[in-house]
């Protein structure tokens, strides 16, 4: 399971990388979103998958699955959300002022 998960994560990373390497603003932003999914799954996977029960004392019995990665991912998700929100606004404000959503056209002057 974990091995296959790693392969899946690899695929997600590849997709994300490819998107990030494109010239279009939207594709790059979506690329970062895909990357963060990959990362979250990675954190989950290295902690070991399906090795225990839902970490709720009383509701479930030990052994519990590793709760720490879950807490970390939660934090990561929220932070990535916050960043994405800002990023989106920045992207369309940039488009509105610069008139382009193509990073090749958003290079700027060499020595401005």
């Amino acid at each position: 399971m974990e091995q296959l998960m790693m392969v899946l994560i690899g695929i997600l990373v590849s997709v994300a990388t490819y998107l990030i390497l494109s010239r279009n603003m939207i594709r790059v932003i979506i690329g970062t979103a895909v990357l963060s999914h990959a990362v979250n799954l990675l954190i989950m996977a290295v902690g070991g998958l399906k090795k225990g029960n839902v970490p709720l004392i009383g509701h479930e019995e030990e052994p519990f699955t590793d709760a720490l990665p879950q807490a970390l991912i939660l934090t990561a998700i929220v932070i990535s959300f916050a960043t994405t929100a800002l990023l989106l606004v920045l992207a369309y404000r940039t488009y509105k002022t610069s008139g382009s959503d193509d990073f090749k056209e958003l290079r700027g002057m060499p020595d401005e």
Binding site: Q3, L12, V34, L49, L68, I73, L74, D101
Partner: protein, 802 residues
């Protein structure tokens, strides 16, 4: 005694006072104040002469950074006293001269401030025992020289000259610092005295020769040796008193001081001899040769200074042979070269100072220094003419002037050296006197030019802005004092030798028994058959011959085209460095985000992926098919398909749809992996993100697939696949690494520890509440940020770039 260190401090204190209180001091008095300060210092220093000449050494330490051993330790011995006297002595004369030279409309506060700064720095250089403090003062001389050269900074040439001198001397300083640090590493001390004591020890180190070269680079740049001399002619943009003071008498001698000071450390290395002697001799020749072609009197003097500095340098190199050979009665003879060096150093300061002041007078009174506009001034300016004549004759090495004495000693030294059978001198040793002689021929030629073309011949009043007339008395005082010295030293050389030069010799050769033994008695007359005398006579003859045929051979100066000259190389080097670096930088700093991402990913792949292959990190354990349910496999396929689908999506909304599918599927995985809190959060966040995407995409255009070239597509594909592979492989390796137990078992007791049954929530709210608190802050900043980004629009609709 605190007074000793005060010698260094006094100029700084006065510089500070002037810079702070200049509003309250009349311009008239500042020059006098500075002159007085230097004079008082000079007088104080002379009081040390008896003690120092008795072999006493005066030290004083003020702690600065004791933990690193960097302290202000002044160390007054023969060598430093000699230089200190020179600095303050010439300083007083230049101060006096500049009072009359500089117009009252100039920013005199600045000028005198810099001058005092320089004087203090220079005293610091020669009095410091601590090499790092010495370095500090060394750089300070470069800085004050920069400021003085750029004194008329509205002139382009001044700025260019200042920049050149600053760059070259600071570069030398930095290399010297590296050399010093190597010395520190080898000897474990920063004190020059202690380094000299350990000279034998550090010689074994592999760093010895590099340190030697680096220190010499510092000395050569400062003392304008070939090929670094090029800053010195350009430094003539400074007011003439500055040229006289810094660029002939004192600052350029700092390199000489350094070589002299470190002769006991490095002298026992052949490289030292060859570098110092060789570079010095070549500089001597090159300077004199180039001086002849100059048409600006000041430039001619500058090249002459370069040449004379080469002479002194080469003498020090020859003197170091004594140390190379070790002390014995036979080797003492070679120390005389070093004696000649410091003797000529003093002599040069006197006659060259006088000559510079002479040129300053011409410039000041006639408004030009161009030889093509000068001539026949002897009758209009007899007093000035006297200065020029005596200065030049001394420089040319003729009696009865001090230059003759040291020049004779120089010739003698070259002849001694060529007799040596070590250091390959038996093969090429003859070149040393030969080069020396040729250089002195050219020296004689330009001395003739200075006197002849300026003061003899026809006066060209039509080319002059002002009618020629003699200078005011005030401007003549200083040069006359100097030419009096020129003559005086010729007649009483041993007075100087006894009280000033001998103690300095003791500093250069500390391992040699006594100063008395080292110091020769200076004689003007070595007999009619002394070879050095004949060298002088032949030089005079050849010089007169060349001078008279000047027009016929001057063409050789045009053989070397300008663009191959050192100056052109330097200037073009700077231009090239700017344009090439601009071209190179622009090549990769494209401003294109895609390129930057390529760099990041490639760096990741090179370092991480590279190490993965190289470091034997790979690990794999077979997949247990039972651990995977069918629905999980399908879910994986769904995630895969939706993510790859994004790549092919043609519209932005399709992308959002697919991203949503991806997000929901990931959330479902969290459920499969027993993470309810995570699933809940992921679900909500995913949906809110979707709403955000939709809200913002309204403002963005539809996706146009920018036309990427085929190879860029291929490059991106390769990078992407490699990134995925690297992350997966490293992830597998991390997965199979099971040497430690996780800390998170601790949290399984969360109910007992923290009263929470939801372990994840308890971690977030209690064990790692700090993360959560900051995460909330992040969210808060983002929210506030979104608000400000939208509300705070650029004035004028944001279209005002540049």
């Amino acid at each position: 005694m605190t007074f000793d260190v005060a010698v260094v401090l006094v100029p700084f204190i006065f510089a500070l006072l002037i810079s702070m209180l200049y509003r309250f001091i009349s311009k008239k008095y500042i020059g006098w104040l500075v002159t007085a300060v230097s004079l008082v210092l000079f007088i104080i220093l002379t009081t040390y002469i008896p003690r120092i000449s008795n072999g006493e050494i005066i030290t004083f330490t003020h702690e600065w950074i004791p933990s690193l051993g960097i302290n202000f330790t002044t160390y007054l011995d023969g060598l430093s006293l000699m230089f200190s006297l020179l600095i303050t002595g010439v300083g007083s004369l230049v101060g006096l001269y500049s009072i009359f030279y500089l117009s009252k409309s100039e920013q005199l506060y600045h000028f005198y401030c810099y001058l005092l700064l320089f004087m203090g720095a220079m005293l610091g250089v020669v009095l410091s025992d601590n090499i790092l403090v010495l370095y500090g003062f060394w750089e300070m001389t470069s800085v004050s020289s920069f400021l003085l050269i750029a004194f008329w900074h509205h002139r382009k040439a001044s700025r260019a000259g200042a920049r050149k001198s600053m760059l070259i001397t600071v570069a030398g300083g930095i290399s010297m610092l590296a050399g010093f640090l190597m010395l520190y590493e080898m000897s474990g001390t920063l004190s020059i005295r202690e380094i000299i004591e350990k000279a034998g020890l550090i010689r074994e180190s592999a760093l010895f020769v590099p340190a030697l070269v680096l220190v010499l680079l510092g000395a050569f740049t400062k003392s304008a040796q070939f090929p670094f001399y090029i800053w010195l002619p350009d430094a003539m943009e400074a007011p003439t008193p500055v040229s006289a003071y810094l660029h002939s008498a004192t600052m350029v001698k700092a390199g000489i001081y350094l070589v002299a000071r470190f002769t006991p450390v490095f002298g026992n290395e052949a490289a030292w001899f060859w570098l110092v002697t060789g570079v010095g001799l070549f500089t001597l020749f090159w300077g004199s040769f180039n001086a002849v072609k100059q048409v600006d009197l000041k430039a001619m003097l500058a090249f002459s200074t370069v040449s004379q500095l080469g002479l002194i340098m080469s003498l020090l190199g020859m003197g170091s042979v004594a140390i190379y050979l070790g002390h014995s009665s036979e080797t003492v003879i070679y120390t005389q070269a070093a004696f000649a060096a410091i003797f000529h150093l003093i002599n040069h300061s006197t006659f060259k100072g006088a000559l510079f002041m002479m040129v300053g007078i011409l410039d000041h009174e006639l408004g030009t220094r161009d030889l093509r506009r000068l001539g026949g001034l002897m009758y209009f300016m007899p007093l000035t003419f006297t200065i020029a004549l005596i200065g030049c004759l001394s420089m040319a090495g003729l009696p009865p002037f001090n230059g003759f004495l040291s020049k004779e000693m120089f010739f003698a030294a070259t002849l001694h050296i060529q007799d040596l059978s070590i250091l390959s001198l038996d093969h090429i040793g003859f070149l040393i006197p030969l080069v020396a002689w040729i250089a002195s021929v050219f020296t004689f030629v330009y001395c003739l030019i200075i006197v002849g073309k300026t003061f003899f011949g026809k006066v060209k009043t039509h080319l002059l802005d002002k009618h020629p007339h003699e200078a005011p008395v005030g401007m003549l005082i200083s040069p006359y004092i100097l030419i009096i010295l020129v003559v005086g030293i010729f007649f009483f050389p041993n007075l100087l030798g006894r009280y000033v030069l001998n103690p300095a010799m003791a500093s250069i050769f500390p391992m040699f028994p006594s100063a008395e033994e080292l110091a020769p008695t200076i004689h003007a007359w070595h007999g009619f058959f002394s070879p050095e005398l004949w060298m002088t006579i032949l030089a005079v003859v050849a010089g007169i011959f060349l001078y008279s045929l000047l027009k016929s051979w001057k063409a050789i100066y045009r053989i070397l085209p300008y663009h191959l000259s050192l100056n052109a190389l330097f200037n073009n080097g700077i231009l090239w460095s700017e344009s090439l670096s601009a071209r190179f930088t622009r090549r990769y700093m494209t401003g294109n985000l895609t390129d930057y991402f390529v760099y990041i990913f490639v760096a990741f792949l090179l370092v991480v992926g590279g190490y993965f292959l190289y470091g034997d990190v790979f690990s794999w354990s077979p997949v247990n098919p039972e651990s995977l349910d069918v629905f999980e496999a399908i879910l994986m396929v769904i995630i895969m398909v939706s993510s790859i689908g994004i790549l092919f999506a043609k519209s932005r909304i399709t992308i959002v749809f697919l991203t949503s599918v991806l997000g929901y599927s990931v959330a479902f995985f969290f459920i499969v992996f027993r993470a309810p809190d995570l699933a809940l959060t992921q679900l909500v966040v995913e949906s809110v993100s979707t709403v955000l995407f939709l809200l913002c995409f309204r403002h963005l255009p539809e996706i146009k697939r920018g036309v990427q070239s085929k190879w860029k597509e291929a490059r991106n594909l390769v990078i992407s696949l490699a990134m995925g592979a690297t992350v997966t492989m490293a992830g597998l390796a991390a997965l199979h690494y099971e040497k430690f137990k996780t800390i998170s078992e601790y949290y399984n007791d969360s109910y007992l520890l923290a009263g929470g049954k939801n372990i994840v929530n308890t971690i977030l709210g209690d064990f790692r509440a700090f993360d959560t608190m900051l995460e909330v802050v992040v969210l808060f900043i983002a929210g506030l940020g979104v608000y400000t980004l939208i509300k705070l629009k650029a004035k004028g609709g944001g279209q005002n770039e540049n």
